[in-house]
Amino acid sequence: MSTSTRIALTPHLRRLESESIGIIREVAAEFRNPVMLYSIGKDSGVMLHLAMKAFHPSKPPFPLLHIDTRWKFRAMIEHRDAIAERYGVKLLVHTNPDGLARGINPISSGSQLHTQVMKTEALKQALDKWQFDAAFGGARRDEEKSRAKERVFSFRSAGHVWDPRNQRPELWNLYNTRISQGETIRVFPLSNWTELDIWQYTRAEQIPVVPLYFAAPRPVIERDGQLIMRDDERMPLKPGEREQERMVRFRSLGCYPLSAAIESSAATLDEIIAEMLASRTSERSGRLIDSDEAASMEKKKRDGYF
């Protein structure tokens, strides 16, 4: 990691960093077989960076896991492989084979079914396959209402069930890491970070991010008021739709047909941060899966979504 032109962390970011490192170490110390979910996005980037710092000079004593729906932006997959190489960490990739066989995809299956089968089910398969007892996720409490009540150590009973009424109270930093056979814990080291913190930390620590976060002229189509970048030929154009080049970037990355771009000229981290401070929409507004139905995030989480 280059430290040449780094600017010092503010006390606020340093405090967040220390808290997250403490959480990550706790999992390494207490669990038999942890894994870090790596979704390639900016939050995952920060989380991985924190894990590298937490165990220095050792490597993180757990692998990364990417749930590949096969519909991620190509630039994301390139970034993922480059990062695993650069940090020298083990990367596991899992795709739901049943979903592939059934031809589930975000376009004709609909976002809800696609997310359920290719993300939620796939994640459960992977956790079972490798017998992981703890899984780190990059979710933040400021993202969405049901996330605001999420624990740092979120308990899942056998079968990966999240019962919001049956979560353990978390006092001080005395996390209860005890589980029985078959039970698992999802751990969210970035719980207390905001989107702005993530970007400011990314800038201060010079953490690499997928280039799609930066504005560039990109071919997009306009669909239901959202700008979608057609990353490959699998997404058919509807009558009347045509690709046009616009200056856009992404605030949040997922499956490309489900991730809307925003018009922006922010091409550097400084400009992204400046744009955020002036922004009047939340980052999840470009996530087409959240508006599926009322309280949809809570429902997804009960099903085992991260």
Partner: protein, 624 residues
């Protein structure tokens, strides 16, 4: 966010505070107001809010700001907050994390959870109602959890015609009540969360009030907790050992400051060494301060493990196995003195039990009351004993080393939260008398090994009958035996105990201790007790060496026991003449890993006793 430069945003120190109020005090509305007025409600969230207000709102045509924060579906439908929600907002001067906690008495645990990580509390009062029982409760819990700064938010001031007189009377009432709680500061503000008066915007209706608005005050609270000035405490979290040449101790400095070259001591063992390096991914540091996550290396190869606490040699924490603490109970199943729980303190887990419950505190009146158990959301002052000595400080001196949680050993639920008042020095002062004749010597003399044969099962299952036959056979083989059962214990040693859950636990604890003495004397002790709870059987098991405890589950079905009913007890229990009868209105938790399971044999107790003796030979308790 208007006119906020990026640089300004990064300079402020974070404030974590909680809001406490009951259902109708307008707590969620106040937080919604803070988010809305600091313009953190974004366009898409506002659209969702408009939709939700129409569907679930309680404010008619207006936006219901409370819906911004009531996150879970059940809460929105019921219009109450069930769980602790964390909210984020910032102003040009400071970033805030708000713990939004429910105020009902049945949610005391949630409030304590929010308070445990907060530096200040906003206590809401409905201006129409004034200081209520709930206000006292909220204030007491805040004080118990160590909150120093309180903001008394006298809400709904619009509904009392913005009356200054009303406001001042409420404040006077409150200050009178809160004086013994010793908060460092109490600031009272008249406001209307619904209309925004004195939240962010100064109200034109309260000209008689010249204090700060809520946000001005929150921006100015001094949150430096003086942690760096306190004694060094470094709980070791993880041993960092990438190769044979590096052995570091990773953790977060809980308090104080540590520098290379300083002498440190491992609190529990008393071993000393010198700090060699403070290692981080960004290079070595010349010092690490409270809150810093670092890795320390020591000059000497001394034994250090996760759970140890490093301290400066001249400022050590207490190391005790008995201490007094306030305990808040957080699960449905009551806290039973004597039962073994897992205690988490710092980075360590250690078995612990409450040895005595001195009193419980009525959270509404603050009165002390005698009690035998603690129910969900009750708070009691207890003595606790740990299986091994632990390093700790009083909670008032150090939140990091003075707080603990208790975990149920079977369900793993977080069962209790504790704040240490002081260590009890008895453990270190009573040195055990070293004995010249020990257990090993007695085994040689006796020619057999000691053990506890613990017969458990329902009343009428045949425990005592089988145990009697086993003892007769052992005696015939020249084995020293002794029988402990309800008859010879309940009539003497445990005459003072009844059949409540708490008394059953104490009954078994005493029997366990007596059995242990007999084992020390070299005897095979036969214990025949219903002993319905797994936790207590485990407690006895843990008093003894692994091979010395043999659990014998007499697995006779309830129907069969009822049919036999040798003492007519089931009949009377079913008529309601005996309360708390195991199997009828009190549970029996069957063993999961008993050494011996006896299912009713058609050949009767002689055959079952033969199976027990066989097992004792296999285990080499007795010779073959």
């Amino acid at each position: 966010m208007t006119a906020t430069s990026d640089g300004a945003l990064t300079r402020k120190a974070l404030l974590r505070f909680l809001t406490c109020g009951s259902v109708d005090d307008g707590k969620s509305t106040l937080i919604g107001r803070l988010l809305y007025d600091t313009q953190l409600v974004l366009e898409d969230q506002l659209a969702a809010l408009e939709r939700d207000s129409a569907k679930h709102g309680t404010t008619g045509e207006d936006l219901d700001l409370a819906l911004l924060v009531d996150g879970l579906q059940a809460e929105r439908e019921q219009g109450i907050t069930i769980d602790v929600a964390y909210r984020f907002f910032s102003t040009p001067r400071r970033a805030f994390i708000v713990a939004d906690t429910p105020g009902h008495e049945q949610y005391t645990r949630n409030m304590a959870t929010g308070a445990s990580n907060s530096q200040a509390a906003v206590i809401l009062i409905d201006a129409r109602k004034g200081v209520l029982t709930q206000t006292r409760r909220h204030s007491y819990i805040c004080a118990l959890l160590g909150i120093k700064h309180v903001v008394l938010a006298v809400n709904k001031i619009d509904l009392v015609e913005f009356s200054g007189e009303r406001f001042h009377r409420i404040v006077a009432d409150y200050l009178g009540f809160a004086a013994p709680l010793k908060f460092a500061s109490v600031t009272s503000i008249p406001l209307s969360a619904r209309f925004g008066d004195n939240v962010i915007r100064r109200s034109e209706h309260t000209s008689w009030y010249d204090g700060p608005t809520l946000i001005e005050h929150l921006e100015s609270i001094d949150v430096s907790e003086g942690l760096e000035e306190k004694a060094l405490r470094f709980p070791v979290q993880w041993v960092n050992r990438p190769n044979l040449d590096f052995r570091g101790f990773s953790g977060t400095v809980a308090s104080g400051v540590v520098r290379p070259g300083e002498r440190v001591v491992v609190a529990a063992s008393g071993r000393e060494s010198t700090i060699q390096r403070i290692v981080t991914a960004d290079g070595d540091l010349s010092e690490a301060r409270a809150g810093d996550a670092v890795t320390l290396t020591l000059a000497d190869e001394i034994d250090v493990a996760r759970g140890d606490v490093l301290a400066h040699a001249d400022e050590r924490p207490e190391v005790v196995d008995q201490f007094a603490a306030e305990v808040l109970w957080m699960i449905e199943e009551p806290m039973l003195p004597g039962r073994s729980y897992l205690m988490r303190i710092g980075t360590q887990y250690v078995p612990a039990r409450v040895t005595s419950l001195k009193h419980k505190t009525d959270v509404n009146t603050l009165e002390h009351m005698a009690a035998k158990t603690l129910a969900l959301n009750e708070i009691g002052f207890c003595n606790l004993a740990t299986a091994t000595p632990v390093a700790l400080d009083p909670y008032a001196d150090n939140r990091a080393t003075g707080a603990f949680v208790l975990i149920d050993r079977f369900t793993n639920a977080t069962a209790g939260a504790g704040m240490i008042s002081f260590g009890l020095r008895r453990a270190t002062n009573i040195h055990r008398q070293a004995l010249l004749v020990d257990k090993a010597a007695r085994v040689r003399l006796n020619g057999h090994r000691p053990a506890v044969l613990w017969f458990t099962g329902l009343s009428g299952s045949g425990k005592s009958t089988i145990a009697n036959v086993v003892e007769r056979e052992l005696h015939a083989l020249g084995v020293h035996t002794y029988m402990l059962d309800g008859d010879n214990v309940r009539h003497g040693l445990n005459r003072d105990l009844g059949f409540t859950d708490a008394d059953r636990v104490e009954n078994i604890r005493r029997v366990g201790e007596v059995a242990k003495l007999f084992v020390d004397a070299g005897a095979v002790v036969l214990c025949s007790f219903i002993s319905p709870f797994r936790a207590e059987r485990r407690m006895v098991r843990e008093l003894l060496a692994a091979e010395e405890f043999i659990e014998i589950f007499v697995d006779t079905p309830l129907e069969e026991c009822q049919r036999r009913d040798p003492k007519g007890l089931y009949a009377r229990a079913l008529e309601g003449k005996i309360k708390n009868f195991t199997g009828i209105d009190s549970p029996y938790e069957a063993p999961q890993n008993a050494e011996i399971v006896l299912t009713a044999s058609p050949l009767g107790p002689e055959e079952e006793a033969r199976r027990v003796l066989e097992a004792l030979r296999t285990r080499q308790i007795i010779g073959s």
